[in-house]
Amino acid sequence: MDYSQFLAMKQEIALLVVFLLVFLYDTFMPRKALGATSAVTTTLFLLFTVWSFIWGGVAGNVDAFAGMYVTSPVCAMIKNILNIGVLIVLVQATSWVNSDFQKVRRGEYYELLLVTLFGMYLMISARHFLLFLIGLESASLPLAAMVAFDKNRYESHEAAVKYLMTAVFSSAIFMMGLSFVYGLSGSLYFEDIAMQLGSQSNTMLVVALAFVISGIGFKLSLVPFHLWTADVYQGAPTPVTSYLSVISKGAAAFAFLVILVQAFGQFYSEVWEWMLYALIIATITVGNLFAIRQKNMKRFLAFSSISQAGYIMLGIVGCNEMGLAAMMYYILVYIFSNLAAFGVIGAIENKTGKVEMTDYNGLSKTNPWLSFSMTLAMFSLAGIPPFAGFFSKFFIFTSAINQGSIAIYILVLIALINTIISLYYYLLVVKAMYISPEEPQIEKFRSTCTERVSLWVTVLGIILLGIVSFFYDSIFNAASLSNLFGFIA
């Protein structure tokens, strides 16, 4: 065996080294030194992110282990995007992890988080369903433990039960679909499956594809597989919710695209294009309509993230390099906007324990900077022009329309109408903070240093990502080098 092929996995191996260092530090350092665990982890991860930006990339497609694992500029790019998100989550989580109730277990939070990130890396780079499944499970099982992290709150356990049951149920359905695919094609390599299946669809293939799509739809919380989302987001501790809502969603969306175009590309127009249309329309509409009636901020952002997942899916139906680039850019912008919103919610929850929308009445009078960050996040999520959210929505609609059929015009029209509906409920939060005449519920307080740093970074990202075209250009360059779309028919 040629051991040098492990070098193709250099990003994974570096992440594993970070994980092991954190694990060893947490296990063997004296108790007095454990207070620095957060700082050590964040610094190590910052170094890893910078290293991965500069030396983590590859020039072309590199595969290892007989094609089971593939890395390319676009894979390295999406991993870097996830790294930025994880870095912000780590900074945001610091004051929660070091609070009195959590600090005995703070090492576990970081270890579980890094393991799930490793699983997502495998999902992104896998070109074989066995490796993909291992990545999927090592991304979702530790997340269930993270959801149950808050031992003193009953809601945390309830959320963990709901998350784990639906995750196992969905992966069972996904594996059933895989077994059908295996029976039809005799292989689990994405490319071999595409080769063996031919171009003729049959009933068994349609059933298998429906199973596979619904299995991953659970992870992405697409409607009608979204029922776990709101409860889990509400029950989980806020730093876990923010991780769950951006990072795992981004990784799953990219892996979903790779599976669909690499393994089942030739059935695009015949089978799964229509399945995706139905899923996208249902996801965006139901997510929006349910978000209107939410009173709890975390549930509200859960439904908002469901509808955002629908917009991310719009990048897949285009099935071209531009759609891929638009999807990755959307994920990047979504990471910054959503983490800004969760940063404000987490800061307020840590200080006062309040998460209801009515608690935010008159917030601008007592905490103007927090209200300002929240407003920018809401504007960006809704897609109001000068902010990054507008550009990401613009690119994703353009890439979808480029495909050119009447059906996709109708699809994009429905998505556009939904953008206007979403403006209503995003502005409800802004109205509560700025216009509501009631007395402020939350006194003036000063959030901790780490929370302020994370909010500065996310707000800067929201403002700059759209205006500075360097970000979209580099993503587009990486995406145009990918030869993912060879099988589309």
Partner: protein, 103 residues
């Protein structure tokens, strides 16, 4: 009488459907976990049977089954741990009782 591939596939499909039915109808979380195990084991049978009958020269399906068994064990262990936690907090393990958060 010769045992064809259908003699294996139909029981595994029945097992899968029983698992789905049990997962949806049972109220006790442990019973739901058992139903999930039924579904996962049906998948394992499918892989082995497809491998044995359709592609006898290869071992890919068998390998997948081995890994799937390990994953199922990990899932069950974690699920039991979380269910025990719920039981400690609320003294109940029926799904009808974990309904504090609902829309």
């Amino acid at each position: 009488m010769e045992l064809t591939i259908l003699w294996y596939l139909i029981p595994s499909l029945l097992m899968f459907c029983c698992g789905v039915y049990g997962f949806i109808t049972r109220k006790n979380m442990i019973a739901m976990l058992i139903s999930l195990e039924l579904m996962l084991n049906a998948v394992d049978i499918n892989f082995v049977v497809f491998n044995r009958f359709l592609f006898p020269g290869e071992l890919e399906g068998m390998f997948f089954t081995l890994f799937a068994i390990a994953l199922a064990a990990a899932e069950t262990a974690l699920a039991i741990a979380i269910i025990i936690n719920v039981f400690r907090v609320s003294e109940k393990i029926d799904v009808d009782d974990v309904t504090k958060m609902k829309f």
